[in-house]
């Protein structure tokens, strides 16, 4: 039995400890905001937070998560929208939008560690997250807007 918290709620898991948390979130908890894109940590669509840090949920097995606090896009903000989400709306970032929960989770983790990231910081943090529609220019602008809003 693995005990963990997902978006603040205590959960008990007694299935296959090899199963990545992505599938626990999506298929069991039906928290479908966290997306499946590649299954091998190459695209970032599945990005969630473990104890506040960005993880690729598609390769993070349940067995490694005892006692962890997991946050998904559904739990990113307790009351209303997180500054990153507000900035995403303000800059009108998404096209198809499929990768954007992962992008926002990655960006939120970046802004937690670096209040005012440089272009190079943004590139470093965000280059693991693919957007096939090509919204990168707006993602960068939204991260800047969120950084400004936070300070």
């Amino acid at each position: 039995m693995i005990q963990l918290k997902v978006n603040g709620i205590q959960r008990n898991f007694d299935g296959d400890p090899q199963m990545p948390i992505l599938w626990y979130l999506r298929d069991e908890l039906r928290l479908t905001g966290t997306k499946f894109g590649c299954g091998v940590a190459l695209c970032g669509a599945c990005t969630a937070h473990k104890n506040g840090e960005a993880i690729r949920s598609c390769v993070t097995s349940m067995g490694t998560l005892a006692g962890a606090e997991i946050t998904t896009i559904e739990g990113l903000s307790e009351n209303g929208l997180h500054p990153v989400q507000k900035a995403w709306i303000q800059v009108n970032v998404p096209q198809c939008g499929y990768c954007q929960p992962g992008q926002m989770m990655q960006a939120a983790a970046l802004l937690k560690s670096k209040k005012n990231p440089s272009d190079a910081d943004i590139d470093d943090a965000m280059s693991g997250n693919i957007c096939r529609c090509g919204t990168y220019q707006r993602i960068r602008a939204a991260i800047r807007a969120a950084a400004e809003a936070q300070t």
Partner: protein, 752 residues
């Protein structure tokens, strides 16, 4: 949650058995699908005033507008309803969008070819204007005045003379009793009164997309559904010889192993066949698949090898072939001599790699198949599912979720048919989930193409003769196994439509047999054709010591309508008189791009350069200037892109700019890393490590998009940005390094 309450209040749940699953469906489909409603009905259909299939208005003032095209990021689900709302003079805040199921009553729902706006702009105006006139007539009748004295003001009918006002909601019931007026009596708003068209709006789904609440195909769920992952034949046309499923069945959560029949050629949109692992969750299905032991009969396509195939294409491209456009006498002009310049261009197979892999949920029950799918073409889903299951088309209900990217792949519903077939076999709801590896290996690829170009040039560089020949396995091969030549619809894409005013010009196409499924990918044949024509133009300019932009002006000649009367040229399905190839518009975007991009004026560093290309596709004129920097390792950076677009009337300018920004990133992937190859008939690539697409650090840093103000009829915006970007980037690399890129991707070229 409000969606559930709405649904319950409306009594749609009455008399249903599997309430738990249905409530869930309502939760996951707040405004998309209506599993609990009568098949085929949506809120607009059920509204009090329902003058046509696209519109419904209720007494509470809510306006329902049906989005019948699929949303994959181009904002068509928002932009077409905006046109309805504008002609209706509705308050956008009171509009709810209903996503249509697949139904021929809406007209074409095949969301491809950059044609949603151009194909339905007028239809949407009629839908809105009809509702507006009925509301005016209802108010006039109530007031006992002439309808001609009444106007509308944002959701209200007004009789100015007596200062009386009635809201649309108040009028809905009375209006519903009136006959629907004929199209001929409708009055459309003058441009000066447009509220939304030309101003646009962010996506209707923006907040849902930013909070994880948006429902994509991958997110569709029904209580009691099973999950399926399918091992497809590695080679197209392959068949299962034998399966050992013992180990797979031992995986926790795996329930069953189910064979799927191979397709009968041609493949079209049929399931590929193979072996499905059925499980309690996606992960278990994936794990079970890894334990399958399958012996395959690979069939005839095992002989396919991309290296050998490439040589074949290139040889074919150097031999005389089928003439598809002929002006003057090219052979005689070549015989006269002059400086002959020849070049061969090559672009490999490309995969779509939409971020959401193929996925579909199907429930077969009581002779009816209900589907939830991220599809670009729900009517094609109806067709293939009705054939596969042997049921009538009306009994195939295809709900369209949001699409996590499409790029043409999701016009081909093979994956939806798989879910339907499995649900019928298992008599349970089944969700088929493709892995990324499935997506890369079992795509309908953009054709591999070899192009040969030849020109005889005079002192000033203007060609006295121009020959271009392309060879590629045609898309029609998925419908006809014997098809080897390009059809007019794809030969027109940057090939027979070449706008150069040259006395002797010949366009040819050679044969190529397909060994994989070929399909539409964003911009399609324009990618390789524009790459060849626009880079060869740049080559000729440099060979003649001319500025490439000036030189191209010379090739295009005087502003004119290009005469294609003697060419089989379908013009993207649009009438040529409304949408001619007008070189004045091409010249204007070229001039503007040169100006905005600082062509000839910017000081650039070492191994940096600007490249230029111009191209009309999907009836839209685009010119692009790309700045590139090449480092010591030969890695490229793209600091800036300036692109000028004349797409006629633009409904949603901000969404349009986003499409061209995205096109530059898509084009970067094509140039840098886009390459699918096969060995012994099986695709070599599998995921983003060997089919990389552009990441933030590689993408253009700043793409400036300028839209030409135009009253010309609306044209396409989703696709036309890619082809000129690809060519302009390659021309920029030449400017920076002196290395001419004739073969993609860049890894085939040594830049430093």
């Amino acid at each position: 949650m409000s969606a559930i309450e709405n649904v319950s209040r409306r009594g749609f749940l009455t008399g249903l058995v599997a309430v738990g699953g249905l409530v869930l469906a309502a939760r996951f489909y707040p405004e998309i699908a209506g599993h609990e409603r009568a098949p085929g009905s949506n809120q607009a259909d059920l509204a009090k005033l329902h003058p046509n299939v696209f519109l419904g208005i209720n007494p509470d003032g809510t306006v329902y507008i049906v989005a019948h095209r699929s949303e994959m990021g181009t904002t068509s689900r928002t932009s077409l309803p905006l046109v309805v709302a504008d002609e209706l003079d509705a308050d956008w805040k009171l509009v709810k969008i209903d996503q249509a199921i697949g139904d021929a009553k809406y007209g074409s729902q095949n969301t491809d070819g950059s044609q949603s706006i151009r194909g339905f702009y007028d239809v949407m105006r009629v839908a809105g204007a009809t509702g507006r006139l009925m509301l005016i007539q209802a108010a006039a009748r109530q007031w006992g005045v002439d309808p001609a004295e009444c106007t509308t003001e944002m959701h209200v009918v007004v009789h100015a003379a007596t200062n009386r006002r009635l809201g649309y909601g108040e009028l809905a019931t009375a209006a519903s009793k009136l006959p629907v007026p004929a199209k001929e009596v409708l009055k459309f708003k003058p441009k000066s009164e447009w509220r939304y068209v030309g101003k646009g709006s962010p996506s209707y789904d923006l907040e849902a997309l930013c909070t994880g609440k948006a429902v994509f195909g991958m997110d569709a769920q029904l209580d009691g559904m099973l999950y399926a992952s399918i091992e497809h034949p590695p080679v197209l046309g392959g068949k299962v010889k034998s399966v050992d499923s013992q180990e797979a069945l031992k995986v926790a959560g795996v329930r069953q192993i189910v064979p799927i029949d191979p397709y009968q050629p041609p493949p079209a949109f049929q399931p590929l066949g193979g072996v499905a692992v059925i499980a309690d969750n996606t992960w278990a299905a994936f794990q079970g698949r890894k334990k399958l032991k399958i012996d395959w009969d690979n069939g005839a396509n095992e002989s396919y090898d991309s290296e050998a195939y490439k040589k074949e294409l290139q040889e074919t491209a150097r031999k005389p072939a089928k003439v598809v456009r002929d002006e003057g006498d090219v052979d005689a002009a070549f015989a006269k001599g002059g400086k002959i310049i020849e070049a061969d261009y090559y672009v490999p197979l490309l995969a779509h790699a939409s971020m959401e892999p193929m996925v579909a949920l199907a429930e077969f029950k009581d002779g009816r198949a209900t589907l939830w799918a991220p599809t670009q073409n729900p009517q094609a889903v109806q067709d293939i599912v009705s054939k596969e299951l042997g049921i009538a088309k009306e009994n195939v209900i295809c709900h369209v979720t949001l699409l996590g990217g499409g790029f043409g792949r999701k016009s081909k519903p093979d994956y939806v048919a798989e879910a339907a077939v499995l649900s019928k076999k298992l008599n349970k709801p089944v969700k088929v989930v493709w892995t990324r590896e499935d997506d890369i290996k079992f795509d309908y690829y953009n054709a591999v193409a070899a192009m040969h170009l030849k020109a005889a040039v005079s002192d000033k560089g203007i060609p006295s003769a121009w020959l271009q020949r392309s060879v590629f396995p045609p898309i029609t091969s998925i419908f006809d196994v014997n098809a080897v030549y390009g059809d007019p619809g794809h030969l027109q894409q940057g090939w027979t439509d070449i706008p150069y005013d040259l006395p002797n010009l010949r366009v040819e196409n050679g044969p190529a047999k397909a060994h994989v499924r070929i399909g539409w990918l964003r911009s399609v044949a324009n990618i390789y054709h524009a790459f060849a024509v626009q880079c060869f133009t740049d080559e000729l300019a440099h060979a003649s010591g001319r500025d490439p932009v000036d030189y191209q002006f010379g090739l295009i000649g005087k502003p004119r309508i290009v005469d294609l009367k003697n060419t089989n040229y379908p013009n993207y399905g649009a009438p040529y008189d409304l949408y001619p190839i007008d070189t004045a518009r091409l010249i204007r975007v070229m001039q503007m791009a040169a100006d905005k991009g600082g062509w000839g004026k910017r000081k650039l560093g070492k191994r940096a350069g600007l490249g230029f290309a111009a191209h009309r596709s999907f009836l839209t004129y685009v010119a692009t200037v790309v700045e590139v920097e090449v480092d010591d390792q030969g890695e490229i950076k793209i600091p800036r892109v300036d692109t000028v677009v004349d797409a006629g009337l633009v409904v949603n300018p901000e969404a349009t700019r986003a499409q061209f920004q995205g096109a530059a990133v898509f084009g970067t992937s094509v140039v840098k890393t886009g390459e699918i190859t096969a060995t012994k008939g099986a695709i070599d690539q599998s995921n983003f490590q060997d089919y990389p697409v552009a990441r933030m650090s590689e993408a253009p840093y700043q793409t400036n998009v300028y839209l030409v103000e135009s009253d010309a009829p609306p044209a396409g915006v989703g696709e036309p940005g890619v082809p000129p970007f690809v060519a302009a980037l390659c021309n920029a690399i030449f400017a920076a390094t002196g290395k001419r890129i004739r073969e993609l991707p860049l890894s085939k070229n040594q830049l430093v």
